[in-house]
Amino acid sequence: MEQKKYWKGLEELHNTAAHQEAVKNEFREDLPFEESDSFLGATTPRRDFLKYLGFTTAAATIAASCDIPVKKAIPYVNKPQDITPGVPNYYASAYTVDGEYVPLVVKTREGRPIKVEGNEMSTVTEGSNTARVQASVLGLYDVARLRYPGINNGPDKESLEERVKEIALFSELDKQVTAAITGKPVVLLTATIISPTTKKLIGEFLAKYPGSRHITYDAVSYSGMLLANEQSYGKRALPSYHFENAKVVVSLGADFLGTWLNPSEYSRQYGKNRKIDAKKPEMSKHFHFESMMSLTGANADERYTHRPSETGAVALGLLAALGGGVTAPALVDARLKEGIAKAAKAIQANPGKVLVVSGSNDVNVQIIVNAINNLAGANGTTIDWAVTSNYRQGIDAEMEQLVKDMNAGSVGALLVHGVNPAYDYYDAKKFVDGIKKVGVTVSFNDRYDETTQYCKYIIPDHHFLESWGDAEGRTGYYAFIQPTIAPLFKTRAFQASLLSWSGNTTAWEDYLKNEWVAKLGSQEAWDKALQDGVIEPAAGAPLTGAAFTADAGSAATAISAPKTGGMELVLYEKVAIGNGKEANNPWLQEMPDPITRATWDNYACVSNTVAKTFKTELGDNYEINAERRVLKITAKGYSVELPLMIVPGIHPDVIAIAVGYGRGKKQFIGKAAGEIGANAYPFASFNGQTFSYFATDAKAEATGRKYPVGLTQTHNSYEGRPIIKETTLDAFIKNPKEVNHDREHLAHYGEDFRNDATLYTGGTKFEYPGIKWGMSIDLNSCFGCGACVVACTAENNVSVVGKEQVVLAHEMHWLRIDRYFAGDENNPEVVFQPMLCQHCDNAPCENVCPVAATNHSSEGLNQMAYNRCIGTRYCANNCPYKVRRFNWRDWNGADSFEGNLHDTADMNDAITRMVLNPDVVVRSRGTMEKCSFCVQRLQDAKLAAKKAGRPMKDGEARTACQQACATDAIVFGNINDKDSRIAKVRNEEQTDRLYYVLEETHTLPSINYLAKIRNKDAAPVAAGAHKEEKAHH
């Protein structure tokens, strides 16, 4: 089989001179010393000598003169029974931000939440979660959160303290607010709320103030789906989707693995059909139609691009091809037409095993999608209408009406909770004008954000980890939220305010408890519910469809004709940042975007063909150099200036911009999110029914300015060595051995590659007497979502370095997800490969360490002793996998010398540091670090078994990345245990797909990968790639 050529970016594809230069250097910059042949030959030998002499003398003096500080050990006065210092406690909770439903288990140490994991008792998510959920624990310690309730003095004052006058007593605020709102119709403006008890309470509250209403506003709206479902099925709701039952998945721009509705649930389901059982190889087939390159699109088997204005035409085309009795507008692109025909054929071949989803917020498009699903027999098989989902509830027209009413001065009081329309409403100015005309304004938002600055009363809500609550993600599927820490600041539950203002003196936690004790029948049942974290209906209820009653014909005529000329602009959510609500999270900002691999910014994504037309003189080194040309993008009378980012696979006539950036001042929003990028929400519009997130007639022009973007794509190159293996499903069924044919070459080295392929006579026999840790990563079910990256960051205290340092290739992630393109640069295939320390049994890094700071353990771990490391960086130079990260700065205040600290995002505030895992040391400047296989977790699992006097069970020791993976693409365990999952994967289940990266170098990695399999007809092979590879060796 021909070896495909993979490229991380165009620079590698075209092998530019700048790329060749860049790969030569392991480290991007020169040492901060003058280089000269001899010390005395340097231009300033005397000064350098004095400098070094002075530093060493001073350092030695300081080090020698430091007294041992007297430390205090202060025990509890009265130790809480369930807290043992040093032993973590776990509490069930749930992440319900913006209507997402992810039941969680929260790990606390000494009363501080430090890590969240998915709750495996939930059958909805089965323990899966996302990068944003993983990072939510850092949100708790966000220093930009408002710390007290108060009254707003208006936006003229400079500092936050001057702007928000603290009111010491909540009762005082309650008195003022109730006096102000009594007799007025109140509008409660919230994001989607999935808590049934909160909703009940809202009902009671609104009843107290006649004429009041509750408006749900979703920053990124799904009301098109809600309204379409109302017309199609008589229910203004979302069904529950079952991707696991779908043999054919067709997505019309729905990024269900990254940002669409509840991605953790869908990734889990979808992943089940992407795993390959070697005995019975089959997998789902995924068609994807989109304008930009999304995470989900990157994972599709067949991906086609279209202009955003063609979305309806594509849906209609599909319905027409299925015999839906509609006429579809003609499409120009032949490849797209062919794709629609292919998808239709696949749908027809698999009746009842099809799921079509669409990311469009257009009612008519969604009605057409419903019609397609109806024709394909999805109702009752992959779409369940008996159990509906509550993930989004906002109706855009209601928000439109509210803004009109506000401007008309007919809104007496506005209470804002968890929404920020002054930032993310498409006509923010109109909203701001309106809010100024509202008599009484109250904000419950967690920070002094764009909307809160116009609200008079500010009563910040708790973070969810400090809160009591419940959630009903799907009908009848409940999750419970309990506080895992006492409130850090003087905040109050939003519900407590509503209770107080509706004259109810019950505390919110009692209200919630009473509600549930009444529902469940007893206190014990409530205690159990809190402990489990979820209550679910009995399993086995059949999926039920619903009668499709909409008129597809009239929807078809209502769909506007596609535009043909000019550029179009499409808005999207970044996987890490989402709609921007949680943007002030350094972990999320520093997580490289799965597709662009960029951090800390938004940018204008365009295709390479279009980029060339902007007269920006991109030059040869464009992809290498962090400095990006800035484009001015104009549409709908609004314009932004953003750096240009070339994204292979994006439609040539499309500019894609991520929302969630361009937030307000750093001092109010936070250092991580404030004043970064540009706000793209104003490009959205209201089409009379719903918000639409694309714009036609967009213009882009070069500004001549440059702007650096922290892009990790070009850091660490394998210089074209083959590290990915993939094949197609058909080819795999025909000859399962073929994907690994090159492993046969290893036989040249003797009978046993492991022992024979060595220069040393007699071979190197490695003995792992008890445990030998090993990991397997399935490239087929890894979607590149990045949850593992953030989980690793949280578990291992991985440092945040900030954008300027990312530009210098100083990012510290122990686990990165490499994204490779292959094939045609306009319609590339994409592969994601998580890359972490391979824990080689014959590790090149170990041999070169002059101080033996990195060496091998008898359990197969490549150990890194930070306190022994002297920072020669030789190991990183010698690592073929490029997974070692060097601490160029003191990111954590771990140095002995003060003033070295480099912190751009408030990661070293006393409050933020509470998130650090106390079992893992923070590393100081000048040391190398890398993945440890979460050795603290391994040691913990071993200790538990030792203390219980029993052998360790398989699955007891789990790495953070493994636990965070929504699809269980990562399997980890003891290879010496023949019954372990990892041993079975390696020795029985996946022998054909199993390979090691750069195996021929005889590094003997402890991590194996499983070759990717695409469910597509034929893999395009770049001609000559194979020869080139051969020449390389």
């Binding site: 020698a64 007297v70 205090k72 006065v77 026999k765 150990q863 022994r868 040691q939 006097g949």
Partner: protein, 320 residues
């Protein structure tokens, strides 16, 4: 510690045998290899002294010889009638100065490095505590089990100083001290009852009324045993899995009125113990996975398994 997995046990035995078979240099007594460990240590001490004396004598002899040589050279030169400069006195002689600097450098370096290694170590540290709490009275005379107060030592990495409510379990009833007289390290007499009263003051207990009258305040003990942040140490591992006695690391704590740090808590001290301590290899079923070692025991190749044999001296057992 890099393991040498390619070495078989017999290889290691051979190496050890070879190492032991080499007679100790210097004035080695015959039969030294059969000496007990203590004797060997003493002997190496006397050896270094001997080497030192010999080196010193040799150095003096060398200096004298050099002087003689130089004098003879001088005489020879005079005899041959060469004009010679007045010899520089030895304290101005560059060779002597260089030698002196070298010696000072070596000695200074030795002490600097020793000092640097010892930084942060505080063996025998015995700070004054806010309350004169006597382990001798509690654990020694009254035989209270260590784990009654330090109950976390079985569960957690921290042994934990007990919270005040644990103290009050007994001290609600015990309000005065009636045991033997107590003295501080400086020999000052301590009033035990007054020290108990200090506890009551902290915890807010009124012994006369027999109830808590004030909110409790924590006691700020001075921490004695401190490990650097880059060391992971787990009490429960040693107490439960290892069945190590508290006294092994903390000394005869039941004899101490005021606690002092018994061990230096250096890495060398840890590693030495890991090298010699036997694990509960056959008793604890966790170790059943080590088949080869079990076979070796069965075949009488080894009689026990030390922590080191299971990888207990590897970096990432304690540093992560």
């Amino acid at each position: 510690m890099t393991p040498f997995p390619e070495l078989k046990d017999e290889d290691i035995d051979n190496i050890l045998a070879y190492v032991n078979s080499v007679p100790a240099p210097g004035a080695a007594k015959p039969g030294a290899d059969s000496a007990a460990a203590g004797e060997v240590q003493e002997e190496s001490g006397s050896n270094s002294l001997l080497f030192g004396v010999i080196t010193l004598i040799l150095a003096i002899v060398a200096v004298i010889l050099m002087q003689i040589n130089s004098n003879l050279n001088k005489l020879a030169a005079e005899k041959e009638g060469h004009e010679r400069l007045e010899p520089v006195p030895f304290y101005k002689n560059k060779a002597y100065i260089a030698l002196g600097i070298l010696i000072l450098f070596v000695i200074g370096g030795y002490f600097t490095i020793q000092g640097a290694i010892g930084l942060g170590r505080q063996q025998n540290y015995m700070p004054e505590q806010p309350i004169f709490y006597s382990h001798k009275v509690h654990a020694g005379i009254n035989q209270i089990n260590c784990l009654y107060c330090h109950s976390s030592a079985e569960k957690s990495k921290h042994a934990m100083i007990p919270s005040e409510n644990v103290c009050m379990n007994c001290h609600k009833a015990i309000t005065e001290y009636t045991g033997p007289e107590l003295f501080t390290a400086e020999g000052k007499k301590v009033n035990g009852t007054a020290e108990i009263q200090k506890l009551f003051d902290h915890v807010g207990w009124d012994p006369k009324a027999g109830r808590y009258t004030k909110p409790g305040q924590p006691i700020e003990w001075t921490k004695i045993h401190s490990l650097p942040d880059h060391v992971y140490f787990n009490h429960s591992q040693h107490v439960v899995a290892g069945k190590v006695q508290c006294q092994t690391c903390h000394g005869d704590i039941q004899q101490m009125d005021e606690v002092k740090q018994f061990a230096d808590l250096s890495m060398g001290w840890c590693v030495n113990c890991h090298r010699t301590t036997k694990v509960q290899f056959t008793e604890n079923n966790y170790y059943s996975i080590f088949e080869k070692l079990h076979n070796d025991i069965k075949e009488n190749k080894i009689d026990s398994v030390t922590v080191e044999m299971l990888g207990g001296t590897e970096c990432q057992k304690c540093h992560y």
